[in-house]
Symmetry: C2
Subunit: 222 residues, 2 copies
Amino acid sequence: MEQTLTISIQDYLKHIYELTENGETASTNALAKKLNISPPSVTGMVQKLASANPALVEYQKHQGVTLTREGKKAALEVIRHHRLLEAWLVQTLGYSWDEVHEEAERLEHVISEDFERRIAAAMGHPTRDPHGELIPTEDLKMPLDDTTPLSALRPNQTATIKRVAASDSKLLRYLEELGLVPGVRIEVNEYSPFDHNLTITVGRKTNVLGLSITNKIFVQES
Amino acid sequence: MEQTLTISIQDYLKHIYELTENGETASTNALAKKLNISPPSVTGMVQKLASANPALVEYQKHQGVTLTREGKKAALEVIRHHRLLEAWLVQTLGYSWDEVHEEAERLEHVISEDFERRIAAAMGHPTRDPHGELIPTEDLKMPLDDTTPLSALRPNQTATIKRVAASDSKLLRYLEELGLVPGVRIEVNEYSPFDHNLTITVGRKTNVLGLSITNKIFVQES
DNA sequence: TAAAATATTTAGGTAAGCCTAATTTTCGTT
DNA sequence: AACGAAAATTAGGCTTACCTAAATATTTTA
């Protein structure tokens, strides 16, 4: 029951979680692309995970996969590790938010539960990582995300940035320069209906942001 | 040339380093015992390391192994990771010195050079880990250890504890209780020639220590 | 110095996790 | 509804890093 999952399996589960968060099943091809592994290899591993005891995924030939309760728990454990690590690397070692991902990607598989507890406690049990991604709770539930995309706001609305759903380093550095990071308050000044550009104020700076950006920034109105 | 060594290989090199520090060669059996791997497996891996390019070990059938310059560098890198991690886990996460080993054992193989540099800098480039073991320098040289075993001291000599060469958790906790940890000043009061017991003062406590302990504590006279 | 004990190596196998090439299934069109 | 494209699977192989059993080399000891 309390088998230790290989790093490889942990990675599969994490990526399946991400592909199925919306309720859909994860296709072999999508998984293969995300894991950077050939589709036949993915088929093989998925079959193995489905016939494991306890089964970690639900799988029917040609129908894609979803996580079982067990698989989901394991996935959330890895994601919790990853996000706590990102937060911690930023807070205690001065990593910037565009640098942490790779490091956390390797560490997430090898830290102990003790280590997990210690860094969580040291940071005061944070609920979001540096990108604003929600951190699964200690009992492995994913909190609900009550944010809306910035793109949905209109002039005169004010909000606090909660999450920035980007992984590209260049984009992250650009957004940081603009001050568009979690925790920051913004105000929408103008909306341009044709291209959906938003003009927003951050501190004393004003910027025009296109949809490709405003769709990736999630806020809480206030 | 700059191949990444597998975790398994890193472990072999680290253990070979430790077995050959005294200048001897490491026997297959000794290595097998230390790595908790069967002797035939060790023979196989050692042959592989010897014919790698560049060779990581020097090996002649039935003659044991030693590290090549390349192998030694790789070993010192792993050891540097391990010891920096131990220091850092103790300093920033409140691990005690008997708990850190296992965690560092897993992390040492996956941290980046960037991570290594950051924790070294954050701690002010320490030269010893929490046990007092010397940390290989950034350019991968092992500093000379200019300490002597406590067992060599005689009454009226005073010294500072520099290193405690023990890995058993129970012993470490016991020594910590007695205050016998690196950095502490001690004074030798009595020497008992038959059993080699030493009576020493630590702070305002006095203890009688047997040879099995005084041989594991290394000090600098002063 | 020869036999016994010990250490080491060789031989042959296994499991995990990946790959490419070939085949089959499903999907999107017309 | 059938055909071509796309997706997925099966078949067959490879590498890494282990294992046990058997064979051989070395060392110890009588």
